[in-house]
Symmetry: C2
Subunit: 220 residues, 2 copies
Amino acid sequence: MVTAQRSTGGKMSDQRRERLRLEISREAARLFWEHGVAGTSGDQIAEAVGLSTRTIWRHFRSKESCAEPIVMQGVVTLLSVLRTWPREHSLEDHLTAELNRLRREGAPVDVADEMLAMKMIRLADSEPALRTAWLMACDRTEQQMRAIIGDRLGRPADDLDVRLHAASTAAVIRVLDEHIGAAYLAGTDPAEFGDLPELARRFAHAIRTATGGAVGDPVA
Amino acid sequence: MVTAQRSTGGKMSDQRRERLRLEISREAARLFWEHGVAGTSGDQIAEAVGLSTRTIWRHFRSKESCAEPIVMQGVVTLLSVLRTWPREHSLEDHLTAELNRLRREGAPVDVADEMLAMKMIRLADSEPALRTAWLMACDRTEQQMRAIIGDRLGRPADDLDVRLHAASTAAVIRVLDEHIGAAYLAGTDPAEFGDLPELARRFAHAIRTATGGAVGDPVA
DNA sequence: TGTCCTGTGTCACTAAGTGACGTACTGTCG
DNA sequence: CGACAGTACGTCACTTAGTGACACAGGACA
């Protein structure tokens, strides 16, 4: 009976674990933003989230890494949209349609979380510790892009070309995220980014360029 | 005591500072490889390089970051070659010519350092702490690529397109480095990578693809 | 009900990293 | 040459990130 996954056992589900990590991350990010990373202790994070300090270290390997889940929230939407990209659609069409649909039906991630993510990325400019967290989050993005692109190109995820395309794709997503987040926090008119089709077009164009056109078109 | 030649002036020159950081990094990397990161203490690094532990923390903000300089040695050659890329040459031609010239005249970086760099990148697969160091080194690569590409395209280094191209370029350099390093450490025949023109061609092609052709051709 | 199993709290402990202060060396000005 | 200024380094006390060990609570399952 080892084969079937014990979904409802005494063991904490992965989903629940992720939710807890996200909750810790939220409080940590808030404190980081208010008092800086150096000015925030593990004890403070633990107290803010209502857990013992020991439990914090059971869920995160370091203080900086507490920021990773919330920082990932800045790209999970895009990632989940890419994961459902049908082979017969172009990148532009799919992104536009899905982002529009999400806007209508309500985004899966909290707006406050996205704000926190932007703040962390902003803070990463001056705090090397947070920069590592952001880069690690982008690294995980890249891993997922390998699966998505590998699947789309009909090649293994560890194929060299797939890895190259995934790395470039993750890189441009990161840069666009940094750019948009910085502009947003700087007070640029949100309407400028509110135009979903334009936003989708920019992401799609950047990804298409970064992969030399290998990722973007419909595939047979 | 290390008592390295501190010949010039009251203030330590940036070059001397970098040399010292590299020396510390070498010992740290060697210890990380032999005993793992967790199995290496700051005291051990200090003793190995002949400095006090306090001085180690004056030069590095954390234990993991001690690996950054040596890990950077894996890309400094390529970076320095790219920095001297004349506008009227194609990427392929310049890379081939320069890498050949370096091979003839003797490489600027120690072979042992490159081996250590590969080992660190390898170790980064299993040690998250080292992965952050590797990613931070790649991040610095990206900063330098912004200057190189911005200069070549005749646009400011913080231009969005320049940043996108730089990010993609740094990403493919990273992936190729990981790929070649892993193969090398796995015992693949070095002759396979010893073919400089072929290696240069692969890097050039990857960069050209990752920038949609914007980086690679001669410019007027 | 009793027995696993797992997540968490408590406490003692190791080690990463910092602050403060003293010292030795080096170049500079008189 | 000698006093001065600046900087890198050593020493030591100290804070805090992070771990190991063990006990306890609560839910699943017989």
